[in-house]
């Protein structure tokens, strides 16, 4: 983005404060353009009225992200990558989380291939109100046989709507895949220094995004990207090579930094999404656990530092769970609130015989506890104490979760225990056990100590609730 203040964007808006966008003023709309929560196309007059056309075009050019955005696939499962404007997430946020493509190969048995694709597309992990999932399938040509490759691509398409990466350095093989799958807008992998003319021709003919691959040769990588984009191939992904070990990995890391810094700083010829291939870890390790571990480590490094899409091999849960979580960690918008409003919330349909639980108002803590309770059908009152957005364990250690805070939290919420409950019991989180005596003194309630992890609340309830008289 070439501008960074709402005033600069405002100049290009109608200035009529018509409110069609839902904002109260054009200035308010402008500030949303700058934080990228709204787009210029959300201003109806700007888009539809001829007299604003020039301003609209100028504004779009100014607002375009520094790193090109590339769309792979079609329909609901289409994946956007790139589109970033900053080098550090706290400067704004990172956009378009790293796309994870897991591989299949054309020498697999059909049954194994289908089973693997299904595992990949069915993976899900509940997290803060939503599911973390995977994105893509990379089809590798191991046979180098166009017919075999086309058959594998066809089978993948029959099994999933996930977008694909078609992987081969042989243009004939890629062409065979495209003949089957071009309408699904797969990503081509890859043009290198030897085959680039043929692969460029395929990208043009079938109008699909394409990866350029120049292992540890940034000049060649830029040369390929520049040549492609100047010939009308705008949807380019950069693969500078992922060397999985030793000095090679260190160099790979620094290559990613160089590409992204140059791109954000305005070198348009290299301002494309970057691909990492942690799968190469499998070329350096013999046993599956070591390879999965190292692949996950490499994937984490390049999720944190500038990988926009990556090709992975291990589908073990102990690899995929940390991968989806580190990606969420890095791509979570840091501008979103850290806390939930303090107060007493009803989970399910609590009655006077339901428990009153206490937790912190750190959003992650609160939503974790809340989902553990609601998904297990536990009716209760859940109190979010104002711990300044700090989790239970740290808040107990740091003095943000105290007996006085708990008393005040209930009072501020207007929650009268005598009136609302038959039991006069407060259930403290296990990590706040040391507060038990203080809370009893402060509130006059009986205090029970819950489990240290809210995932164990269902079992705890079975054993401890209702409390024995």
């Amino acid at each position: 983005m070439k501008i960074n203040s709402p005033l600069e964007a405002y100049k290009f808006l109608p200035g009529t404060n018509c409110g069609e966008c839902g904002e109260t003023s054009c200035m308010a709309f402008a500030s949303h353009l700058i934080d990228r929560s709204l787009k210029a196309t959300d201003c109806t007059p700007l888009v539809s009225e001829e007299k604003y056309k020039k301003k609209y075009d100028e504004l779009e050019a100014l607002l375009a992200p520094e790193i090109r955005e590339v769309v792979i696939g079609v329909g609901e499962k289409a994946v956007s990558i790139g589109g970033d404007d900053v080098l550090h997430r706290h400067k704004l946020t990172f956009f378009n989380k790293t796309a994870f493509a897991y591989d299949v190969w054309d020498t697999m048995d059909e049954k194994d291939l289908v089973e693997r694709v299904n595992k990949i597309q069915d993976f899900k992990k509940f997290y803060v109100g939503d599911f973390l999932t995977l994105d893509m399938i990379a089809v590798r040509s191991v046979s180098d046989d166009p017919a075999k490759f086309a058959a594998a691509v066809k089978k993948v398409m029959e099994t999933t709507e996930f977008p694909m990466v078609l992987c081969s350095f042989n243009p004939e093989v890629l062409k065979a895949g495209l003949e089957v799958a071009a309408e699904k807008r797969p990503l081509l992998y890859a043009a290198n220094k030897d085959n680039w003319q043929d692969v460029a021709a395929l990208a043009q003919e079938y109008n699909v995004p394409v990866t350029v691959f120049a292992p540890n040769d940034l000049d060649m990588l830029k040369s390929l990207a520049k040549t492609f984009s100047e010939n009308g191939i705008e949807d380019v992904v950069l693969d500078p090579g992922t060397f999985p070990t030793g000095k090679g990995l260190r160099t790979t890391f620094q290559n990613f930094l160089k590409i992204r810094r140059a791109g954000i700083n305005g070198d348009r010829d290299i301002a494309f999404p970057i691909m990492a291939v942690p799968l190469t870890a499998w070329m350096a390790h013999d046993d599956d656990v070591s390879a999965s571990y190292w692949e996950t480590v490499v994937a984490s490094v390049f999720t944190i530092k500038y990988g926009d899409i990556m090709i992975l091999h291990s589908i073990e849960p102990y690899a995929q769970l940390p991968q989806v979580h580190i990606r969420d960690t890095i791509y979570t918008d840091p501008r979103k609130p850290v806390t939930v409003d303090p107060g007493v919330y009803e989970v399910g349909s609590p009655t006077a015989d339901s428990p009153l639980l206490v937790t912190a108002n750190f959003a992650l803590t609160y939503y974790t506890v809340e989902s553990d309770l609601s998904s297990n059908g536990i009716d209760c009152y859940l109190t979010a104490i104002d711990t300044d957005g700090i989790g239970v364990e740290a808040a107990v250690a740091g003095g943000q979760l105290t007996a006085a805070k708990i008393k005040k939290g209930l009072e501020d919420a207007g929650f009268d225990m005598k009136e609302k409950l038959n039991n006069n019991v407060i259930v403290l989180p296990g990590l706040g056990a040391r507060l038990q005596g203080d809370v009893e003194d402060e509130t006059g309630a009986a205090v029970m100590i819950g489990p240290t992890d809210s995932g164990r609340l269902p079992g705890w309830m079975e054993q401890n609730w209702p409390p024995k008289k």
């Binding site: 021709a201 769970l321 750190f362």
Partner: protein
């Protein structure tokens, strides 16, 4: 000898095959190919012959194509080269545009991070075999802007009493769980710990209320048992910790330990004084808040007179999935501010990476939510949770890691030292990774 072949003859042969689509095809010209055997073929003649042969093959290929034979694949295969992919309506790109990638170094990273040395050898009045220096960076970690002067270090946790641990962690310590000195020996000898942290948690009045003086004896035992630099941690009880750390600092006189920790919610002056009186460094601990970190560092320096070379920061580590985004960005902001000249933040950092074991994904047998995909075996999930938590913070600038699981320590060291540049490995040829049998 000499062979003579006329194309018209060829066409006749093909005609004999009675292929309908060939009817009406005439090949113009009467191409005659005369290949002489023996020597005496001059280059000009060879070229002319080659030209003739190519012309013939072109015609024949055209015929074959009409017959439906995949001529191009045959050519591609026989020549071993790359086929020409025909593109309708577009001309192939002829030349690569040359380019050079130039990237400027970060000029605003002009302030180095303070170096802090832990441990003292006999030359400095201590009994450690070696010292460890943290900090000194002039750039974000592993960046090309400036070499990182020191690698990352791992200090492994030892407790002064048995504590609850995840199953896969506990399995490594069952034989030493009642003996902190043996525990310390084990992590250095077997698990390659660079340092040892002795946590005096039994001193908490709500646990065992072990007297400070007694706890100090445990510190002496650990210093006897191992010769690496050590960190001394209290119980986290804000009332008791200053006294515990005073006595421990006294017991460790001369060894230049790191006292963990001073914080805004306890009497940090006493902790700071314990450190300065006995020549130790102090850990400045705050909770995910950059301004609080500045405030505490300022107080330690200005109000308590702690020298700059004796402050390490712990801005708090939250586990992967449980606030690591805040911890990562908080550390990254602290490090960037330091490099850009904020003198209240130019200190090395330490991470309580062990906190990763608080994440249910690291220890729970299976997901408590039945909608989740299978979580797989927890003995593999736990260590990688600790590794990724630590690795993430290493990229934000963290220097020292407090850790628990031996596998986590080994892999974290491997990746941080790989990025640092001290791990040699055979280069893997990735040019054709696509076809790799993995």
């Amino acid at each position: 000898m000499s062979n003579k072949m006329k194309l018209s003859g060829l066409t006749d042969i093909l005609k004999d095959l009675d292929v309908e689509s060939l009817e009406g095809v005439t090949i113009e010209g009467d191409i005659e190919l005369d290949i002489s055997g023996g020597g005496g073929l001059n280059p000009a003649m060879a070229y002319a012959l080659g030209h003739e042969a190519a012309q013939i093959s072109l015609h024949v290929a055209n015929i074959a194509r009409m017959l439906g034979y995949p001529v191009d694949q045959l050519f591609a295969a026989s020549m071993g080269g790359l086929p020409q992919v025909p593109v309708a309506g577009q001309s192939r790109i002829q030349e690569l545009i040359p380019a050079k990638l130039d990237v400027a170094k970060m000029s605003e990273w002009a302030t180095p991070i303070q170096e802090v040395t832990l441990g003292a050898t006999s030359a400095d009045g201590g009994s450690r075999k070696n010292t460890i220096t943290l900090g000194g960076e002039n750039a974000l970690p592993y960046y090309f802007d400036a070499e990182m002067p020191h690698r990352n270090y791992v200090t492994m946790d030892v407790f002064d009493m048995p504590i609850g641990m995840a199953k896969s962690v506990k399995g490594n310590y069952e034989d030493v769980i009642n003996d902190p000195a043996e525990w310390a020996k084990k992590v250095v000898r077997d698990f390659n710990a660079d340092m040892v942290t002795i946590h005096l948690i039994s001193t908490d009045p709500l646990i065992n209320d072990t007297p400070a003086r007694e706890a100090a004896k445990v510190v002496e035992d650990v210093l006897q048992a191992v010769d690496v630099p050590i960190v001394i941690g209290g119980s986290g009880n804000p009332k008791k910790d200053p006294e515990v750390l005073e006595k421990a600092a006294e017991a460790a006189e001369g060894e230049r330990v790191l006292l963990a920790s001073a914080s805004l919610n306890l009497d940090y002056e006493r902790v700071a004084k314990a450190a300065t009186d006995h020549g130790h460094a102090v850990l400045s601990w705050t909770q995910l808040e950059i301004n609080a970190q500045k405030e505490l560092n300022r107080k330690l320096m200005k109000q308590c007179g702690v020298p700059r070379d004796s402050i390490v920061m712990d801005p708090t580590t939250a586990a992967l999935g449980y606030g690591l985004d805040y911890a990562y960005t908080n550390m990254e902001r602290i490090r960037l501010a330091g490099l850009m000249g904020d003198e209240e933040l130019t200190f090395p950092m330490s991470s309580g990476t062990t906190n990763a074991w608080g994440a249910r994904e690291s220890w729970m047998k299976e997901s408590p939510l039945n909608q989740d995909s299978d979580w797989g075996p927890r003995e593999y999930r736990g260590p990688i949770w600790e590794i990724v938590t630590g690795l993430t913070l290493s990229l934000a600038g963290n220097d020292m890691f407090m850790m628990m699981h031996p596998t986590s320590v080994q892999v974290l060291k491997e990746i941080t030292q790989t990025l640092y540049g001290s791990i040699e490995a055979d280069e893997i040829d990735i040019t054709n990774w696509v076809g790799a049998e993995v």
